[in-house]
Point group: C2
Chain length 573, copies 2
């Protein structure tokens, strides 16, 4: 491929709208173009990268006995009504009607379609386990697409669905898939990706993991234990708070706290550490706007994912009306109006002598000791966010650190959520009807490409790993108007192509500066320079985009040497 013919514009300037490097690089490097909010067209370099990623995904899914299938992008809503998700998912599920008025959805994930496809096939235990996967376009109507390919609305995803007759079998397969995912990320050039426990969210099921590329520009917060290696998405991480009881318990006493509204003001006014307070956070249920008030230790934030899971339904930040009987600024767990769902976070367990609202305008309590002052059957729920320096739920040491990460893949043990609701059963060895157990496993292709770029770039552009690079060799013929250069470069190009290498050949009559800056933007791992100075000595210059390597090789040996280099790097994956 001649660079001169490559369709797409490359820019010198960093596009001002890009917040993260991978986005900026892909726009200024001619990889993609904005079409609409969270929607892009891909140009040839990106398409070549994503096709290689897709091939890695295919090979690794086939290696764990996956069978490639294809589900529709557009599905009848009836299919999603079977699972209940047509109702339960918010506006990120794109709903529309076709010309006949039939309700349809755009697939954002394909559990329903997967069950539909194998519902009859999987009617006997002898056919289990099996796994089907697809690589297909999906649409998720995100409220806030951002960061280029990291959070888009339309994207290509590899999604896989496995079916089992026992939890043990699912767990074994889940582990195989976990390992396959590690291989995928290693082969794509980011072996540093870690798996963390995650919240299953709208997918249902219990156990799930996300694969995270740690980077400051990531959207997710991850709790990692420096001591034992435990890791979990903040959304899912158990928060363990140990309160030491004061030796003397004060009496519960009302105090006058005029013009005091926030928990900080309360603590300031009472000259107490914020840890010695009990704060309230008000939500309302999406379903009926009923109030939900969460009480936590003053220094702990609500983890809304855990709150949702605890309640088993969606909530939104509450708006306190006059009629509610709630006194904003003075809310406490004692003496609340009826009809409110109260959640006491486990950060309050064992705490003593706290301040809290008195549910009365301009009054707070002090000396609040939950274990004494709350009803004896009070249950504590874990709905708080884990803290930097917090206690690791596995090793128990106060060694939690919080990092940012990009989620590049996820795996879920779904259980029977979809098979049960959609009436899929099989006959077991004893002739009994049973419900199969499912797992599901996703990797976004474009997001993975962007993540690799985020992990491997410098100030001038991406440094693509050989396994997914748009081309393997970038050949620069400098001063191509020189007939000797033209001849040597053309011949080398033909030789390299003849060896089956993927070569992008820059034979434009442009300055070295333009040539190199374009080569940097394309990020091809091996660069070959044919220049007048080198040719005088009858050599060509071979270097690596990551600057780890550079050598001068006789012209006659160049093709062989380049071919060796490429093969060596390819075999490393």
């Amino acid at each position: 491929m001649k660079l001169e013919k490559l369709v797409g514009e490359r820019f010198k300037e960093r596009p001002s709208e890009c917040q993260i490097e991978s986005h900026a690089i892909m726009v200024k490097g001619g990889y993609m173009k904005y079409v609409g909010n969270g929607i892009y067209s891909s140009l040839m370099p990106l398409k070549r990268i994503t096709r290689k990623i897709e091939q890695i995904l295919r090979e690794e899914m086939d290696a764990i006995d996956g069978q490639e299938v294809q589900f529709p992008v557009c599905m009848p809503a009836a299919l999603w009504e079977e699972s209940g998700r047509y109702e339960s998912i918010g506006s990120e599920l794109l709903r529309f009607t076709d010309r006949t008025g039939t309700k349809m959805v755009l697939g954002m994930t394909h559990e329903e379609a997967a069950v539909h496809l194998v519902r009859e096939y999987g009617n006997t235990y002898a056919r289990y386990p099996f796994m089907i996967y697809q690589i297909q376009t999906k649409f998720r109507d995100e409220a806030r697409p951002r960061a280029g390919l990291i959070r888009v609305r339309e994207f290509t995803m590899k999604d896989a669905y496995s079916f089992h007759t026992s939890q043990e079998d699912l767990e074994q397969y889940y582990e195989r898939c976990h390992k396959a995912y590690e291989r995928v990320f290693a082969r794509a050039g980011i072996p540093e990706v870690i798996s963390v426990k995650s919240d299953s969210g709208m997918m249902g099921g219990s156990v799930s993991h996300e694969f995270m590329l740690l980077t400051p520009v990531g959207e997710d917060s991850i709790a990692i234990c420096k001591e034992c290696g435990f890791s979990a998405n903040m959304e899912a991480a158990e928060s363990i708070i140990k309160n030491e009881a004061d030796s003397v318990l004060s009496e519960l006493k009302e105090v006058y706290t005029p013009d005091i509204h926030t928990i900080e003001e309360v603590c300031d006014f009472l000259k107490m550490d914020v840890k010695k307070s009990c704060k309230a956070v008000v939500y309302q249920k999406n379903r009926d706007d009923q109030y939900v008030i969460v009480f936590l230790r003053g220094d702990i934030e609500v983890n809304e994912a855990k709150l949702r899971n605890h309640l088993g339904e969606e909530v939104h930040p509450g708006v306190i009306t006059e009629e509610s009987g709630i006194n904003p600024g003075y809310i406490g767990p004692i003496g609340l109006p009826d009809g409110i769902t109260v959640v006491i976070d486990s950060s309050l367990e064992g705490a003593t002598n706290l301040s809290c609202g008195a549910n009365k305008k301009e009054y707070h309590f002090i000396g609040f000791t939950p274990g004494r002052d709350l009803p004896s059957d009070t249950e504590y729920a874990d709905v708080g966010k884990i803290l930097e320096g917090g206690i690791c739920p596995v090793c128990g040491k106060p060694s939690i650190t919080i990092s940012r990460g990009i989620e590049v893949g996820n795996i879920f043990q779904l259980g029977t959520k979809y098979t049960k609701s959609m009436g899929m059963t099989y006959t077991d060895a004893n002739g009994e009807q049973k419900i199969p157990i499912m797992g599901c496993y996703g990797i976004g292709v474009g997001r993975l490409a962007a993540s690799v770029c985020e992990a491997h770039h410098d100030d001038y552009g991406p440094i693509w790993p050989m396994s997914i690079a748009p081309w393997q060799v970038h050949l620069c013929g400098m001063r191509i108007d020189n007939p000797e250069i033209r001849e040597t470069s053309d011949r080398l190009y033909e030789e390299l192509m003849g060896r089956g290498l993927e070569v992008i050949y820059d034979d434009r009559d442009v300055s070295a500066g333009v040539m190199f800056s374009d080569a940097d933007l394309l990020g091809v791992p091996v660069r070959v320079i044919v220049s007048p100075r080198n040719l005088k000595e009858n050599i060509v210059e071979i270097s690596k985009r990551d600057k780890s390597f550079s050598e001068r090789v006789p012209v006659t040996e160049a093709a062989e040497r380049i071919s060796e280099l490429v093969k060596k790097e390819l075999s490393a994956y």
Copy 2:
């Protein structure tokens, strides 16, 4: 791959809802499953076929300097408003709004997206010509999906777009693409596909061709000249009618024709050949319901595609109201009310002594001779359907035959319809601003797979060409409970896999009948049978699915022989 593990159900019975064989085969063979009207999921065998077709498409598009890109499935309506197609296309364009209320469309073709992607890149003549293509999911909200993958709503398509600075350059490239299409169909196993002149319809542009697989179950009618090889879609075929003038011209005379309404009744009543009549067909313009009346020779039908093109707008069959002043049953070209668009078909040119309506209840004219009785500036338009036995517009012989065909691809010379409306320009060598000229080229992947199946099947299933077969070799281990059979079959399977062949291995303990009927349904070109009877003589049986070949080969030579067979067939494409 072991057949036992292949996900999907195979049926003995022909599904009653299937009208054509390829549809029936793909449903009963476990290739695909119905999800909704015109929407299917694909199982592994079909997915393997379509991936091979996609690879052929890629290779042939790359060979004519195409660059693979990817456009979005979901596009902002604004893009389609630029070209005017958001308004002009009917309800087959699926329109919806996203969560923010933004108007969107599902891509059914991507001319707008293609121009959008290269609008800035293509700003100088030096970058031309170039071609970009994608293989992507499309959605067309067809009123009547039918025939399995032949006419669906959601489908995968290879669509390519070329850009040029002159009509000559477009024509040259169009010819290259025409040849590439011939190679695609030959490689996919249907070299018999012919290209026919077609109507450009909603795509715009003038010259276009469809590639047709001739088959009685096709949806399209194609006019082919037995003499010179001319071919065209009926929709586009010029109709040439030669009328011989009577030696004596009668006078135009009103006759009383009570209770006569159809052209047949008129001719019966007047005892005249239907060719000696002038009939009227009434339409209304979609835009404003204005009447359009087409007059043709009594034996000729209206070709609505040609009528639309002639008028430059959409029409629908007319509903005649009292107020219109039109006398149904008695409509003629003389004395019509004002405000009606009249189209005189060229089949009336040179005709003499016809009957026609007198625009008066219960009266017809006889002795109507258009060349004498119509105004001297009357223009004749070609809006009639070509007839079996009609005159070839190229060689002039009366040797037209009408065949049915499936359209498996199309190519269009679009001209500047999209570039002009979307404001794409380039600077030419003289510094002047010019508008690029486009071509576009489509092949539906699933429809191609179904067409190959339609062309190559027998009563038992498909006969896939080696180039796109889901597997290359179908290995049957018969009486697998016999340890010798098991050992020989397993070893042969490993040997074949070791040679890089694609093998589906049936090692189920089932009857020969079940084994062979499943093999027939999968249609794999080379079949290998290990059976007790053969093994006694230390041989295995190798045959071809199309029954053209069968031989018995010593066990030790089998792998080599099979490998030869596969390679030979592959190299034939």
